[in-house]
């Protein structure tokens, strides 16, 4: 069965679509929200959720929370003797949710719709997908969180709605989407956001204030102090939801530290964070060509929108009160379950269609002549502009830069800045071109972005008619052959040429052959190389693959020659 999972920074939740409606699944403790926290005890026992959160306060070295902030990075998080990447930890949480659902429904969970912040970049999405696969789930779809909330909101009564704005401030990320609903078609018109702004930042503002006013003992271990301070400050922040003043105390060894903070003081501390909410909202409005007064509703999602200072800022910004129909903590999981129902073609959702957009601009790096006639490298040439409806396929034409140029290196970027240095590098491909005077070799660069966030890039050299392609999105856990075939078919409908992986396959075949020819040490060596290379291939990182392939080709050539001698 397909389930919907909201994998949040602070809390996660799971839901299933049954009997025409979405239902949240409680965890082993009976809560529908599972804190996104993981602890590994000294004996190797794994704790997830509330127990892990408790353990964090006692032994912060063995537990971790808010790791979603680091997903898609290479940062390793140490838990006792073990070290993890953020995606491994996410996988542990996902596995726990999966077990909860299986226990509640008695059915095996094989596929999931997992939500990600709309403004998550390609790397973060890939890592989330990997996390799902690591947890033994086939990721049917990655769904943008505000889109999920909009689904939950829209499905509630299936009425037509003028454009409304989903304001999603979670523990670690901020997303805005402008959505409109007509005849059961839910159409996302624009999304924007800040993937480094969330409730945790408000807590950190209190922590920073506290550390300024109080001298904490220096003999307490740093991460213990951080964890305790954060928890106490977080408690204070939550108290300020209902009260005008919060008092919390922290005991470190023999000493006791008191914090007293008023709502007004907190508002002043949070001012810089509140102003950061403004730009994404304005941008999404501008992109969807709407005046702020034309919005029919403001839908609040995410635990951090419960803070009175955030509500106050929203009311002030929009000049009206936000909508309370959807539950800020549950809407995303419910929306994910609805999307799961859509993927499974549930009869209750027959008339419903969801169309989403690509929230960021995708393009390549180019060089131009500047006003002094000098070369100006590092400029961004957009191919798919942000807020284009997905799936989408676009082609742009480029020309060679210098006389007798022998190769083109294509750097693929995501971002909004004119200079690629400020954008995110997604991948690189390098290929030879015929040597000609500058500007006479032209290439067609085609970007294909499907609704699962998979970007496919292929390049056709007009001169030779040769087409090269790179599948950008990552698929460490290979889908089953049938699904792969279906995907291939989908993509083949867009593209005229198949992926060019022949070179890699050749090297693999070559190694396999030599493996049979040699024995003992050499055979073992080839086996190790092959294993390594296959691992690299699975990462789908073009540059790494090229490097590994070149190294392997060199090694194999040498071995073959030695063998002949």
């Amino acid at each position: 069965m397909i389930v919907g999972i909201d994998l949040g920074t602070t809390n996660s939740a799971a839901a299933v679509f049954e009997n025409g409606e979405a239902r949240l699944i409680p965890n082993a403790l009976g809560d529908v929200l599972t804190p996104s926290a993981v602890a590994i005890l000294a004996d190797g026992t794994t704790l997830v959720g509330k127990p892990a959160l408790n353990h964090w306060a006692l032994k912060p070295a063995e537990a971790v929370t808010s790791f979603k902030r680091f997903i898609g990075t290479n940062r390793t998080i140490k838990l006792g003797r073990y070290s993890f990447k953020a995606e491994d930890l996410s996988a542990i949480v996902l596995r726990s949710l999966k077990e909860d659902i299986e226990a509640a429904t008695g059915e095996e969970v094989t596929e999931a719709v997992i939500t990600v912040p709309a403004y998550f970049n390609d790397k973060q999405r890939k890592a989330t997908r990997r996390a799902g696969e690591l947890a033994g789930l086939k990721v049917a779809r990655l769904l943008n969180e505000p889109t999920a909330a909009a689904l939950a909101f829209g499905i509630a009564d299936k009425e037509d709605r003028e454009p409304f704005l989903v304001f999603d401030l979670g523990g670690g990320t901020f997303d805005v989407s402008i959505v409109e609903m007509f005849d059961a078609i839910i159409e996302v018109r624009a999304s924007s956001g800040d993937n480094r702004l969330g409730g945790d930042d408000f807590t950190n503002a209190i922590v920073a204030h506290w550390m300024e006013t109080e001298t904490f003992p220096s003999d307490v271990r740093r991460n213990l102090l951080d964890a305790r301070l954060f928890q106490a400050a977080d408690t204070a922040r939550r108290m300020l939801t209902d009260e005008t003043e919060a008092r919390v105390a922290l005991t470190l060894g023999e000493r006791r530290f008191d914090l007293s903070i008023t709502a007004d003081r907190f508002e002043a501390l949070a001012e810089p964070l509140l102003t950061r909410l403004r730009d994404p909202i304005l941008r999404s409005l501008r992109d969807s060509d709407l005046r702020i007064e034309a919005l029919s509703d403001i839908v609040l999602v995410g635990g951090a929108t419960r803070m009175p200072i955030v509500r106050k800022a929203i009311t002030k910004m929009f000049g009206r009160f936000p909508n309370h129909i959807v539950h800020p903590d549950h809407a995303v999981a419910i929306g994910a379950a609805i999307q799961a129902g859509l993927v499974a073609r549930n009869a209750a959702l027959e008339e419903v269609r969801l169309t989403d957009i690509c929230p960021f601009t995708l393009g390549i790096e180019v060089t131009e002549h500047d006003s002094h006639g000098r070369l100006r490298p590092g400029l961004f040439s957009p191919i798919i502009s942000r807020n284009s409806p997905t799936p989408i396929s676009r082609t742009n034409n480029y020309a060679s830069m210098s006389d007798n140029q022998s190769h083109i290196r294509l750097n693929i970027y995501q971002g909004e800045s004119r200079e690629v240095a400020n954008n995110i590098l997604l991948g690189t491909m390098e290929f030879p071109i015929p040597r000609k005077p500058a500007g006479q070799v032209s290439i067609d660069c085609r970007f294909t972005y499907d609704s699962s966030g998979m970007l496919d890039v292929d390049v056709t050299i007009a001169e030779t008619g040769k087409t090269l392609s790179v599948l950008i999105a990552d698929d460490s856990e290979a889908p089953s052959p049938e699904q792969l075939e279906a995907r291939r078919k989908q993509l083949a409908a867009l593209k005229t040429h198949p992926r060019d992986m022949a070179e890699n396959q050749y090297v693999v075949g070559w190694a396999a052959r030599l493996y049979e020819e040699f024995i003992d040490d050499r055979r073992e060596h080839i086996g190790r190389m092959l294993l390594h290379f296959e691992g690299v291939l699975e990462t789908q990182e073009p540059r790494a693959i090229t490097e590994a392939r070149d190294a392997m080709t060199a090694a194999l050539t040498e071995m073959e020659q030695d063998g002949r001698l």
């Binding site: 501008r286 910004m317 269609r353 909004e416 499907d450």
Partner: protein, 522 residues
């Protein structure tokens, strides 16, 4: 009703303005296909719906040419003034009469053809104070309206309110968004205009690489036959092409049409390429030697045949050029940029330098000064083209210097006293490449030498926003910042803080820009 045409054929309805009909048709078509698999069909459908909703395709193409032409003209002009919609908008904030008066007053101040008077500028500044301090700025609609209104006023009346630009840009964080794709059209336009202004002032300065070509196109043929011949076709083609591409309105404002037409004819078929620095020095020299004759008041004399002189003086000239290169770049020999390499790599530049040395119409002082300046400019060209690794080294070095200057006032004083010496000492420990050391020492050496020479006021090249930032960062009052950049008669502490802040700012901007600003200030 006319025959069916795109986009109505895709939607399978008759042309209509009724949004509901269009959306229903879209809905029907969308549900009939699997939009996640049939991408091409879905893209076509979306396109058709958006076109239908735009209301521009009610009639088959051809019948609406006039409308389209009108639209294109508008698109090229600067963004129009804020156009309020016809139906009365519902605002979430309330505006009273005093607001209306203020808005009207601001608009009035922006109207007018000549530059903004000091009193008016002050008044506008005061209005900005009130606007920015307004509580209602918390309302997003109000905020966005004020932003768009100011952006359009500034753009529409450019350059009248340009004095306000840095302040407005800072308040609305335009600098971060100027190059973002899809921001309010007036914002990137303003940044371009601002940039273009600085391009013009640079081109107007005699030291600029393209100055001669620029002058040729703006004011016509300057006196002296050599000068005219000194203009390189490639460079001229380059200048015309880049100005047209990046700052097309400059052509209207500054160039003389007949001259442009003539040069276009001459340069037709010329490949547009980057400048060759040696050609450039060579040409510059020929031009300056012509000027030198004029300055000497010896214009009655016919131009000497430089080739005849060159043969006799070749050996002596070689020594002079070599000595000059050594003096200019102490490490040139080690770097392989000696006289021999110059001769081997660019015979043409070499011969021009030879001729220059041999020209008797130039005083020694003038010759030295000219060569110094030219080679300095060459240096900046090299810095501009620094490979990536060097740019990184440069950024690191600047960051390290800032830290040191901020931490230690004594360091700061020494740095101001003699940047070149300071740099050499500080750099001996740092692991930077020989090439980088060589380039940096040349830059500092240049400033040191330039100090002796009378130049135009140096702050003239420091842009308004930069001064603003200097004041903000250093906390030193404006007049003292300016003084700190000019004269030694300011308190040492102010000088230190100003220079420290400047370095801090320099670390943030690309090395390319930094190399231009640095010599202007120090």
């Amino acid at each position: 009703m006319s025959a069916a045409h795109w986009p109505w054929t895709v939607l399978d309805i008759a042309p209509t303005e009724d949004r509901k009909t269009i959306r229903e048709a879209y809905s029907r078509r969308l549900k009939a296909l699997d939009h996640e698999a049939e991408t091409e069909a879905y893209m076509a459908l979306r396109q058709a719906r958006d076109a239908a909703l735009s209301g521009q395709f009610l009639h088959p193409e051809g019948e609406e040419e006039d409308e389209q032409a009108g639209g294109e003209v508008e698109a090229e002009a600067p963004p129009p003034m804020a156009d309020e919609p016809q139906d009365k908008p519902v605002f979430t904030v309330e505006y009273d009469e005093s607001d209306d008066r203020r808005f009207q007053r601001v608009v009035d101040l922006f109207l007018g053809e000549d530059a903004l008077a000091a009193a008016d500028a002050e008044e506008l500044d005061a209005h900005l104070d009130t606007l920015f301090a307004d509580e209602r700025m918390g309302d997003l609609g109000h905020y966005a309206r004020i932003e768009a209104w100011l952006a359009q006023l500034l753009a529409e009346r450019y350059p009248r309110g340009v004095a306000l630009f840095p302040r407005v840009a800072e308040y609305f964080h335009w600098a971060d968004r100027a190059h973002e794709l899809g921001v309010h059209p007036a914002i990137p336009w303003l940044f371009n205009a601002y940039e273009a202004d600085s391009v013009v002032s640079q081109l107007d300065a005699p030291g600029h690489a393209y100055h001669r070509e620029w002058v040729e196109l703006t004011s016509g043929k300057p006196k002296g036959p050599l000068w005219v011949r000194a203009i390189d076709k490639t460079r001229m083609a380059n200048l015309i092409a880049t100005i047209r591409r990046d700052y097309p309105w400059l052509e209207q404002q500054h160039w003389q049409q007949d001259l442009v037409a003539r040069w276009e004819k001459k340069t037709a078929g010329t490949n547009v390429k980057g400048p060759n620095i040696w050609v450039w020095i060579a040409l510059a020299f020929v031009a300056l030697s012509a000027l030198g004759r004029l300055a000497d008041g010896d214009s009655s004399r016919t131009a000497a045949n430089p080739m005849a002189l060159a043969v006799e003086q070749s050996a002596a000239a070689d020594r002079q050029i070599a000595a000059f290169i050594d003096q200019r770049f102490p490490q040139a020999q080690a770097d392989g940029r000696s006289l021999d390499t110059l001769r081997a790599k660019s015979p043409r530049a070499y011969s021009t330098l030879q001729k220059a040395i041999g020209t008797s119409s130039m005083s020694d002082e003038m010759r030295t000064r000219f060569l110094m300046r030219e080679i300095t400019d060459v240096y900046y060209q090299i810095i501009d083209r620094m490979p990536y690794e060097l740019q990184v080294a440069d950024a690191r070095f600047r960051a390290a210097t800032v830290k040191k200057l901020k931490d230690n006032p004594r360091d700061c004083a020494r740095f101001i006293g003699n940047p070149a010496a300071y740099w050499r000492e500080g750099n001996s420990a740092a692991a930077v490449s020989a090439d980088y050391q060589y380039q940096m020492s040349a830059v500092f050496h240049d400033q040191y030498v330039d100090r002796e020479w009378p130049l135009a006021p140096r702050t003239a090249e420091i842009s308004g926003p930069l001064i603003e930032r200097l004041i903000r960062r250093s906390g030193v009052p404006e007049d003292r910042v300016r003084a700190a950049l000019h004269s030694p008669d300011v308190p040492q502490a102010d000088l230190c803080r100003t220079i420290g802040s400047l370095y801090e700012i320099l670390t943030e901007i690309p090395a390319k820009e930094a190399s231009k600003i640095l010599p202007a200030v120090l």
